[in-house]
Structure formats: C-alpha cells, structure tokens
Symmetry: none
Subunit: 228 residues, 4 copies
C-alpha cells in the first residue's frame, strides 16, 4: 500500500525533473506532449500526476523554491561575514534556479506562489539588510534597489548558465565578484586623507565624480555625508 505511494512520489519527482530540464532548454512553449514524451509516459499519464499544465508548473515552482530554501538554510547566511554570505547565496541561487529558469523565477511567478516566494526571499533580503546596517554596503542607493540590481544580475547570469555560456562555478564567482567589488579598477594609491571610511560610497576614488551621469541629478544620496 504505502509502497505504491512511495513509488508514485518517485515517478512524480522524475517527471518533474524531466519537465524542468525540457522547460529550461526549450522555453515555456513546450507542450504537455513534449514533456510526456521526454518523460517516457503517455500524455494521459502525465495528467494523472498533474491535473493540468498549471499544476505542473506550480509543482515545478514549489520544487525550485524548496530546493532554494534548503540550499539557503544550509548556507547559514547569517553566521558568516557579509561577503561570504553574498557569495554563498549567489551560488545557491544560481544552482537552484538554473533548472527552473523558464518559470521566470523572481519574475512572473503564478499569483498563488507569490506568497511562498516572498517568504523565501526573506533570508536573501536579510543579508542585504545586514549589509546595509553594518555599513558594509554603499549608502548612495537604497538597499532595496541594491537588492533589485543583485537579482537583475543573477537573472541574466542564470540565463547564461542555462545556455551554457557560463558554468555554475564561473557564474557564481564572477557575479559575486562584480557585485561585491565593482568593475572599475581601484585607483593606484589613494592619498591617505580623510576618514571617509564610513561614507565609502565614493570609494573607488574618482567614482562619484569620474562617473558622471551615473547617479544623475537627484539620485539618492550619492556619497553625501548625510548618510550615516
């Protein structure tokens, strides 16, 4: 009796696995026929496990989220320095979402899943909050925006992982590095002047001035002393 249930769960997981792969490879346009065929079952059988297409997608969503949740829990983000936390969560996210990207994770989740996602996003947001609070992050842009930029970067990188333009390893490392440190080479030797340590926004020396139009007009407090 229980055996069957167990077996059934395994089959279900298998189908889900195949579906994730197919979807990631060929996009959201794959049909139920495609998925069933890839999974080696009849279409009708597929419908036994997932009453309809949305259910399948939703299940994939759940799988992706639980996968990510597990990885993030394992990462113990709050027990390590902010840089390490970012590195870990980047890796975890890329690894977990790579297979599910067709779902548009972080992007166009089904209405019902929004709640789960927000709940899941918590640990990620926490890292940002901590980074902001600890002064580790620049203060010339709202932490919320910083997070958005981070997710933006992740999405793009994930899509490149899927298209085999980057490996998970590369993608994780590069994305972390870019996000944390920035692209501009640091100035050779900054004159040991003021205690600008706190308002590190303009850090890369010429940055706040050398990057004209980057934070144009009234963009939030670029390196202003009021932040702190």
């Amino acid at each position: 009796m229980t055996r069957n249930i167990i077996l059934r769960d395994h089959v279900r997981a298998g189908i889900l696995d195949v579906a994730a792969t197919v979807l990631a490879e060929r996009g959201t346009s794959v049909s139920m026929t495609d998925i069933a065929q890839a999974a080696g079952v009849a279409r009708a059988t597929l419908y036994r496990y997932f009453p309809n297409r949305d259910a399948l997608l939703y299940a994939l969503y759940e799988a992706a989220l639980s996968d990510l949740t597990r990885r993030l829990n394992d990462a113990r983000l709050d027990s390590v320095p902010i840089e390490e936390a970012v590195a870990r969560m980047t890796r975890a996210t890329i690894a977990a979402t790579g297979r599910y990207r067709a779902l548009g994770l972080f992007e166009k989740a089904p209405r019902e899943a929004r709640r789960m996602e927000r709940q899941l996003a918590a640990p990620l947001r926490a890292v940002f909050e901590r980074g902001a609070a600890s002064g580790a992050f620049r203060r010339d842009m709202p932490v919320h925006t910083l997070a958005e930029l981070y997710f933006s970067l992740l999405e793009g990188v994930v899509s490149r992982v899927i298209r085999h333009r980057l490996s998970v390893e590369e993608a994780s490392a590069y994305a972390t590095t870019l996000f944390l440190s920035g692209a501009l080479a640091a100035p050779p030797a900054p004159p040991p002047t003021a205690t600008s340590t706190a308002t590190s926004a303009g850090s890369t020396t010429a940055s706040s001035t050398a990057v004209p139009g980057a934070v144009p007009g009234a963009v939030p407090s670029a390196g202003s002393p009021s932040s702190g």
Copy 2:
C-alpha cells in the same frame, strides 16, 4: 498619393508601438488576436501591415535596433572617458530596449536579425575593449566575461523597467553605478588598523584577492575561515 503612404507608415508605426508594449507586458505568447485587439484593428488589418507573425517580430527588431543604433551614435562613446561611455551606453540601451524586451534582445533573435545585432553590438564591445586596454577595468576577469556580466545586469534591469519597478532614469543610473563602482563600500586606503577584514574585504583595490569565494581562480568560498 504620398499622403496615403505617409499615413500608412504612421499606422504601421502605431501598430508596432502597441505590439511592442503588449509583447513587453505579456510576453512572447501574445497572439496576433491580442495585438490586433490592443491596436484596435481587426486581425485581417494587422495582416495587411505585417504579412505574418514573424514579420511583425522582425519589424520590432528592426525598430529596436535602429533606435539603439541611433542612440549609440548620438552618444559618441569613443569621445568620452570610459566611465562616461559606460554611463551613456547603459542609458541608451535601457531606453531603447525597454519596449522590446520581450523579443529577448541579445538572446534569441531570428537568424537574420543576428547579423544586424552583432553589427550593432560592435560599439558596445568597443567600449569594453577600450576599458580593458586602458587599464580602466579590473584585470582579474576576462573582458569578455565582464561584458557578459554587464549585459546580464542590463537585461535584468530592463525587465524591471518594463514592469515599472524602476524608471529608465533610475535603472540607468543605478546599473551604471553598480557596474562601475561596485556594491561594497571600500575605503580608499584602509589604514591597516582594526579587524576590518570582514567589512573591507571587497576593497576595490585588491579586490581580486580580497573577495572570498568570488574570484575565478580560487572560486568557491576561498579565504573565508568560516566556510565549512
């Protein structure tokens, strides 16, 4: 005579405009019916202007690319410092591609458009080459990868512009700033004082080695004693 042609072109442009919006908002899955409806014309009329769906998508491509080309030409990227060049090309790209993102610009363009796109990408790549050659860009990752990361960031940001989570201005400024300067606050020259190891890790100066688990070489969580 000419009037009609002009009018026709305007109508065509109008339809294209609507199509871009609808596609950007609802994804590539929108049907010709949807587009025609959104444009307020009958489906058959839509087909008068674009003989088939692909023709419509291709026209959108052309529009996006020519728009972007014009903006990049206007930007005179090679006549300004690298930072300004990045700022300008970021703004230009976001402004131009925002409406066409559903097409997956830089991603899955139709065969024929690939050529145009590559040709168009030239000025962008040129900026990266210049940045690398002039030593303005960090040297711990290949310029090619840097470009990929930049495009990744852009894509994500563009999608947020479309979903009205960011304005074009904000998106441009923030993306530029993040890409150029980085997210971590980095003191100009951290006096070898305190246990700043944790926070100052991502110092842009020695970034390539200071960011744990980030740099290509010794990729996963390197240098972080807490990882384990």
Copy 3:
C-alpha cells in the same frame, strides 16, 4: 453618356476575358485578388463590375453559353449530314468551352444556369435524335447514352486542350473521328452476307462478339434484331 456605358461594357468584357483565361489555367481556386491583378485593376474595381464572385462566374457562364449558342447557330447543324453535324458541333463545343472549362460546363453549372444550359443543349440533342431516327447511329445503346458518352469524350478532350496537350484542331478532329468511327480497325473484308445495313450495330464485323464483356449481360439490345 452612352459612351461611358459602351466603354464600361468593353471593360467588363475585358475583365471577363482575363478571368476566363486565369480560371482555365489555374482552376476554380483562383481568388478575386488573382483575377483583379491579372486584369490590372484593383479588387474594389472588380467588384464594381461584378458584385460578387458568383456573379462573375455566372457572367462567365453566360458568356460561354452565348458563345456556344452563336457557334452552334452558325453551324446550321440541321442542314448537313449527320457526320458533318457531329464534326461541326464538336469543333464548336471545344472551341467555345475551352476557355470556360473551369466552370465545369456540362457538369456542375450553378443552379440558375441549368435552365439556360438545357435550352442550349437542345441543338446538340437534336443532332443525336436525328442520327438515331435516321438509323445513322448504332442501335445497341440508347441515344441518350450515346449523347452522354459523346459529352464525356468532349469533356476529357477539352481538359486536354486547356492543358495544351492537344490543340483545338487536333482535339476536334480526333474526337469526331473516334466518336463516329470507333477505334477498332475494321475487318479486312466482311463476307457480303445479309442486309445488316439497318442493324449496323454489330457493324465492325466481329464487334458484338469480338468485344466480349463490352456490352455485358443484359446490356441494351446489342445488335439484336428486336431493335427496330
């Protein structure tokens, strides 16, 4: 005033002419667009002359029938021997229907045209009646059937004329010859037996016996003496 009407009629005739050609060449599936294009006018103009597709087809039908009627009248079928009459009506029909064959003349005429057609068929039927009455035609099959066979042959031949497999001349001559004389070479020298002149059915000597299964079983009075 009248000028215009005259001109209009000419244009109309021209269109009809082109339409006939196009229809004959490419079949009934040609669109109004095709016809308008071939005629060098706009589709809307075509509709000025013929309110709808059926009207055009019907007009073509009328043209074909009146053409045929004229030719048959000119042929004075009842003033010449039966053989000559057949020859003439064959030629007239092939010449007249060649251009209109797509209409399925004698085959799938529009309901309303049936009447006209039947009226037109009169002179043709008359020839058969005369041939039967005069004893010129074989008596082992009903004259009605003979007529059907004749029309069958004509249809096929006409289709070949249209496809340029036969010229009008060839087609007329061959069809007439075959229909009148038959395909089997006549026996060298028939024993000068009886006065079988009247019941000429078995004419080609061995025909009624040599053509086994041709008029099989109870097929109408094959050379039987009861016919007369």
Copy 4:
C-alpha cells in the same frame, strides 16, 4: 494491443472512405471540417489519423492506386485478346477511380504520387502498344492520341458514374463498346448502291478518309460538300 491497431486501421479506412465520397461529390474544395463532419468525428480526431490535408489526399491516392493496381493485375490484360483487354481495363479503371475522381486522377496528382501513377499507367499503355503493334487499332491516329482519347472518355464517364447518371456496369460496357467499335453504324461492306454517302460516311472500314472533317490531316469539315 493488436486489436487496437486493427481497429484503428478500420477507423482510418472508414474515414478515408467517407472522405472519398465527400470529395467526389462536392469537389476538392471540401474542407477538413466538412470531411470530419461527414465522418462523424471532431476535426481534431481527423487530424489524429491524417496529420494534414495533404496527407489525407495522398492516402486517398494510395488507396485508389493500389486498388486499381490490384484490379489490373487480376485482369491479366496481356493474356487476352485486345478487345477483352480493353473491356477489362475499362471496367477496372472505372470501378477503382469512381470514388476518387475528385483527386483528378490522371490529372493533377501531387508530385510524389506522379511516380506511382506513371508506374501504374504502364499496364494500360501496354495494352495500347499491343493493340497498335498487332494492327488491331486504327492507324490513322497515333496510338498516344488514341490513348488520350480513351482516358478522356473514361474521365467523363467516371464523373457520370459519380453523379449517378450511369452505373459502373453501364459505364464500363458503353465506354468499351463505343471506344472499340465506334458510334456510327457502319455497314460491313456497303454495296455501292444508293446515295448512302451521308449515312455510311463513317464506315469503320475506310473510316480514316470517310469521316468528313474528322481526320487529322485534312481536318475541318473536309469532304462534306455542304460545308461552306
């Protein structure tokens, strides 16, 4: 398992049967909707059996051709006298093509079917060759033309069979008789008695010259004193 396949084949054959009827009756313009409706299945079901319209038509071709091939083989055309051979092949062709006439057999077959058709036409042509070689056929027209006339006659007759104007039996018998013997009553050897010029003109014996305006050479109304 096998049951299903068998059943499926039967259903397929049934659909094909219905399709043949509908096509024969209403012409090639019938839509898939029409066919599905006539067959009593949903359009989508129709597509289960035939992936597209062309596939259906092609299947009909195959059916018609294989049917005809079988019949012709059974007829053993080369083992019987020419007259019997013609009688058999006429019957076989009419019986086999009657249901498929809308396909325009011998007329506008799809490219791939041309080959099959030509291969199939071989036995028919062989009969004509034999007839010509043996001197059984008249010599005043090329055997190729004779064949064309024969097919012309067949086509027309077949169309009448479809429209229920003739039964297969009647059509076969009459067509054979007409083709073989001719329509004109021809006295075995007209004693040079009376003014039989008019009636006996088409005498099969000297037919080639006797039929006015019929024979290729001196085509139009030749030898008829009344023509002018």
